[in-house]
C-alpha cells in the first residue's frame, strides 16, 4: 500500500504530465508540426524591423488593374484566387512595377510593416517588367562595371543557390519557371529564431511575379496559378 504522501506525489506528477501534454497538443496542428501562426507570433519580436508604416509617401495608389496597366505599360496580371477571407486591399504602380497587398483586413496609414507581414500574415504580390531593368545604355554599362547585368534566368539560378539554406527549389507553374521556398522559422546571425516569409518568384515572358507572405507555400502557388 502506498502511503498518503507518496500517493499525493504520484497524483501531482500525473497531473503535471497531463497538463503538459495538453498544452503541447494545443500548439500543434494535425500534422504534428507547430502552426505558422503560433510560430510567427512567438518569434516576430526577435526581428530587427524598424517600426515603419507599411505605406510610404512614394506609394501611388491606383483605382484598379486597368489604371495600373496604363501606368506601367503592360497588362497587369490579377489574381482570381486569394487565401480565404483575403482581398486586394491596395494596388500601387510605380515606374515599371506594380504591387498589391492582399489581406483579410483594411490597410491604412497606421498599418505597420511588422503587423502586416508577420502578425497579420499579409501578402504582397509584386509585378516587375524586367525588360526595363536598365533604362539607358549608360545604366547597363554602369551595371556591367559592378558585376552585372545578368539575365533573369541566371538570377533565378542565383536565388536557388543563395536560398539553398531555406530549401529554395525550382518549379514550373502552367509552363512558367518559378523559384520558391516555404515560410519557416530560421536562426539569424545572433542565434535568434525569427520567422521567414515564404516566397515565390515566377517568370512570365518579360514579367517577374513575386509573391511573399507568412503562409504555406501551397497558398502562394495557388495565387500564382490564378495569375499565370
Amino acid at each position: 500500500m502506498l502511503n498518503r504522501k507518496t500517493a499525493i506525489m504520484i497524483a501531482i506528477t500525473i497531473a503535471t504530465v497531463v497538463i503538459g501534454v495538453s498544452v503541447t497538443v494545443a500548439h500543434l496542428d494535425y500534422g504534428g508540426q507547430q502552426t505558422s501562426s503560433n510560430n510567427s507570433d512567438e518569434f516576430a519580436s526577435n526581428l530587427a524591423i524598424p517600426p515603419i508604416p507599411l505605406l510610404s509617401e512614394y506609394d501611388k495608389p491606383v483605382n484598379g488593374v486597368d489604371e495600373a496597366s496604363t501606368i506601367v505599360g503592360y497588362d497587369v496580371p490579377y489574381p482570381t484566387y486569394l487565401p480565404e477571407g483575403y482581398k486586394i486591399q491596395g494596388m500601387y504602380a510605380y515606374d515599371d512595377s506594380v504591387k498589391m497587398y492582399a489581406w483579410d483586413r483594411m490597410i491604412d496609414g497606421k498599418t505597420r510593416y511588422k503587423d502586416f507581414y508577420y502578425t497579420g500574415k499579409g501578402m504582397i504580390i509584386y509585378i516587375y517588367d524586367i525588360s526595363k531593368r536598365y533604362s539607358t545604355a549608360a545604366d547597363e554599362e554602369e551595371a556591367k562595371a559592378t558585376g552585372g547585368p545578368i539575365s533573369i534566368e541566371e538570377q533565378m539560378e542565383e536565388w536557388v543557390k543563395e536560398f539553398e539554406k531555406y530549401k529554395a527549389h525550382k518549379l514550373t507553374i502552367d509552363g512558367y519557371q518559378c523559384v520558391a521556398y516555404d515560410s519557416q522559422i530560421v536562426e539569424d546571425a545572433i542565434g535568434r529564431k525569427v520567422p521567414l516569409l515564404a516566397e515565390l518568384d515566377c517568370l512570365k515572358d518579360k514579367l517577374l511575379i513575386q509573391i511573399r507572405a507568412y503562409l504555406p507555400e501551397s497558398e502562394l502557388i495557388k495565387v500564382a496559378e490564378s495569375m499565370l
Binding site: 530587427a48 517600426p51 512595377s97 545604366d139 539569424d188 545572433i190
Partner: protein
C-alpha cells in the same frame, strides 16, 4: 520627386524588401552593429572584444547607385553586395553622406557620439546618448538624421524632405 533618401540606414525597396544597418542595445550600451534583411540579422560586428578603440570611427552606408537592385552595404571596413533584392524608389541615392560612430568613452556605459559626413564640410558631430529613447537631429542643410530605440534594436534613418517622424 518627393523626398530624397541619402545613404539611408534603412531602406525599403519598391517590393518591400527591407535592408537595415542598426545596433543591438545591450546592458553595457556597447553597440553591436548589424545589417539585416527583412528583419533577419545577416551579420553583426563589434562584440565586446572587437568594438572600435578610442577615437576610432566606423562608417555605415547603404547604396544602390546604379539601381540594379543589388545593394552595397558598408559597415566599418567591410563591404557587402547583396543579391538582387529590388530597386529603391529614389532615382539615385546620393553618395558621400555617411553615418559615423565615434566612441569617446570606449567601454564606459555612457554617451556615444555620432557624426555624419558631408564632403564639402567634413564631419558634423551629432552628439547623442544611446540611452535616449528618442532623438531627432535636423542639420542645417535640411537633412534629418533620426534613430529610435525600439529595444532591443535601435534603428537609423537619414532623409531629406521626408518629414520628421521617421521612427
Amino acid at each position: 520627386m518627393v523626398g530624397y533618401m541619402v545613404s539611408p540606414l534603412w531602406v525599403t525597396a519598391v517590393n518591400d524588401r527591407l535592408l537595415e544597418i542598426g545596433w543591438i542595445a545591450s546592458a553595457s550600451y556597447t553597440p553591436q552593429w548589424y545589417w539585416a534583411l527583412d528583419g533577419i540579422i545577416q551579420k553583426r560586428w563589434c562584440t565586446n572584444n572587437t568594438c572600435p578603440n578610442n577615437n576610432s570611427t566606423w562608417l555605415f552606408t547603404i547604396q544602390d547607385s546604379d539601381r540594379d537592385g543589388r545593394w552595397v552595404l558598408r559597415v566599418g571596413t567591410d563591404t557587402i553586395t547583396t543579391n538582387n533584392l529590388g530597386n529603391s524608389y529614389a532615382i539615385k541615392t546620393g553618395a558621400g553622406y555617411e553615418i559615423g560612430y565615434y566612441d569617446v568613452n570606449p567601454g564606459i556605459n555612457d554617451y556615444k557620439d555620432f557624426m555624419y559626413y558631408k564632403p564639402s564640410t567634413g564631419w558634423v558631430l551629432l552628439s547623442s546618448s544611446v540611452a535616449s529613447k528618442w532623438y531627432v537631429i535636423v542639420p542645417d542643410n535640411g537633412y534629418t538624421v533620426d534613430y529610435c530605440n525600439d529595444a532591443p534594436f535601435t534603428h537609423f534613418k537619414v532623409a531629406k524632405g521626408g518629414g520628421r517622424d521617421l521612427c
